[in-house]
Symmetry: C2
Subunit: 225 residues, 2 copies
């Protein structure tokens, strides 16, 4: 589903240059749940952003379902992202003036495909049905994170990128989110690429990769493989 | 150092009312490291904000070193916070136009007590000395979190409130932060009240409290007590 070939991402230049990614080649087949781990600053968010077409790599290529992202105009890239990709941001990126429900509806509204039953079901999946009319400022950190998760899942995207989806969640809520993502793969045939510091990832994911200083230094099956 | 008596915090009213805190009475003596855990939405951030004078409780009272917060004007409360309290926010609250160093310097500048050697030492304590000139947008999530931690510690406050200081950190970085806070207590005689989902808290903290639906439901020694 997603393939990266010789991916590099450099910020700055000269002596101040930072290579967030250096020569990353990796494939994520359809129907796979991969966890990406690594130290703070090792390039995990950068990798996800490049794979999802949210950032242009300095070198190398990303293809999603056979389409090379570098060949796409910004407009075509936006359409691809809107139709095929769900992204759960590390910092949630909720729109503060919209309610929880309106944030979750947004991808469907933009696509002209609003489906209220699906929005209700997705909010219920993240246990936030009773808070649908609250704005982000009226929700706890973990509640906001779950709204972000619902928004990424509601359009049933073929590929879901999740940047630390359980960082702000307690053990029970985190467990529920990991299993929601697992079900998206098992029942929906989706591909999930999840950045996490959560050791439970090895139990839930099919595969665990480790990044260090912008490179993949480990790539092994998880316990469910 | 910090005492809460019958603390309540209600949002909204009538049927839509939410009791984020309900009748919380708890003391945190000087030189204690307490961890506060609990499910998402259980009131942890709300408790920290009320204890630190960042939010006014609906009912009850908070005293810090014998001073009741309710008796303070907003100006006096601000002075108390500036001189005695360090707060590590769940969402970091860094100023985006300032560099990492300038964010960390800010409490000292406001107090008219800039000490460049102390700023350097604190940035080194969180392993970010080499990134001091970068703005928050140029830092990873965990790097931003560590800038926030440095900013809370640089003025050597007597009480440190930490809202999920390791949520975005990998295991090694998280371990270093927990030990940095432990040293602030052991060597500096400070009081630390830390909200966390990290099970390692029980190993590092003197005491572990559990919140559920705005109430303290457990209060036991940690393993170092
Ligand atoms: N400004 C607000 N208006 C309305 N409700 C609020 C507001 N702030 C918090 N709440 C609600 O109060 C409850 C407690 O919130 P709080 O942020 O203290 O939880 P928390 O334990 O820190 O959760 P998390 O682990 O998700 O960060 C939640 O149900 C939350 O939605
Ligand atoms: N816009 C930018 N400008 C300069 N450097 C950047 C920028 N974005 C990221 N970096 C740097 O690139 C490196 C990788 O960042 P990235 O956000 O991918 O790390 P990460 O693995 O997600 O870390 P964390 O676990 O802390 O979230 C870091 O050193 C970071 O500071
Ligand atoms: Mg990151
Ligand atoms: Mg919170």
């Amino acid at each position: 589903a997603v393939h990266a070939e010789g991916l590099g991402r450099r910020y700055g230049e000269g002596e101040a240059a930072i290579d967030a990614l250096a020569d990353v080649t990796v494939s994520f087949p359809k129907g796979q749940f991969a966890a990406v781990m690594g130290p703070s600053g090792s390039g995990k968010s950068t990798l996800l952003h490049c794979l999802a077409g949210l950032d242009r790599p300095t070198s190398g290529e990303v293809t999603i379902d056979g389409t090379a992202l570098s060949g796409l105009s910004d407009r075509d890239l936006t359409v691809l992202r809107r139709t095929a990709i769900g992204f759960i941001f590390q910092s949630f990126n909720l729109l503060p003036m919209l309610t929880a429900r309106e944030n979750v509806e947004l991808p469907l509204r933009i696509a002209g495909r609003l489906d209220s039953a699906r929005v209700d079901a997705t909010l219920a999946d993240v246990a936030l049905g009773d808070r649908a009319t609250h704005r982000p400022a009226e929700l706890s950190g973990g509640q906001q994170q779950r709204v972000a998760i619902a928004r990424a899942l509601v359009s049933h995207p073929t590929v879901i990128f999740a940047d630390e989806p359980t960082g702000n969640l307690d053990s029970t809520s985190g467990h529920e989110i990991l299993h929601l993502l697992r079900r998206a793969v098992d029942e929906g045939g989706r591909t999930v690429v999840m950045v996490t510091h959560d050791p439970r990832a090895a139990v839930v994911a099919d595969r665990v990769l480790m990044l260090s200083d912008g490179r993949v230094v480990m790539d092994r099956p998880g316990m469910t493989a």
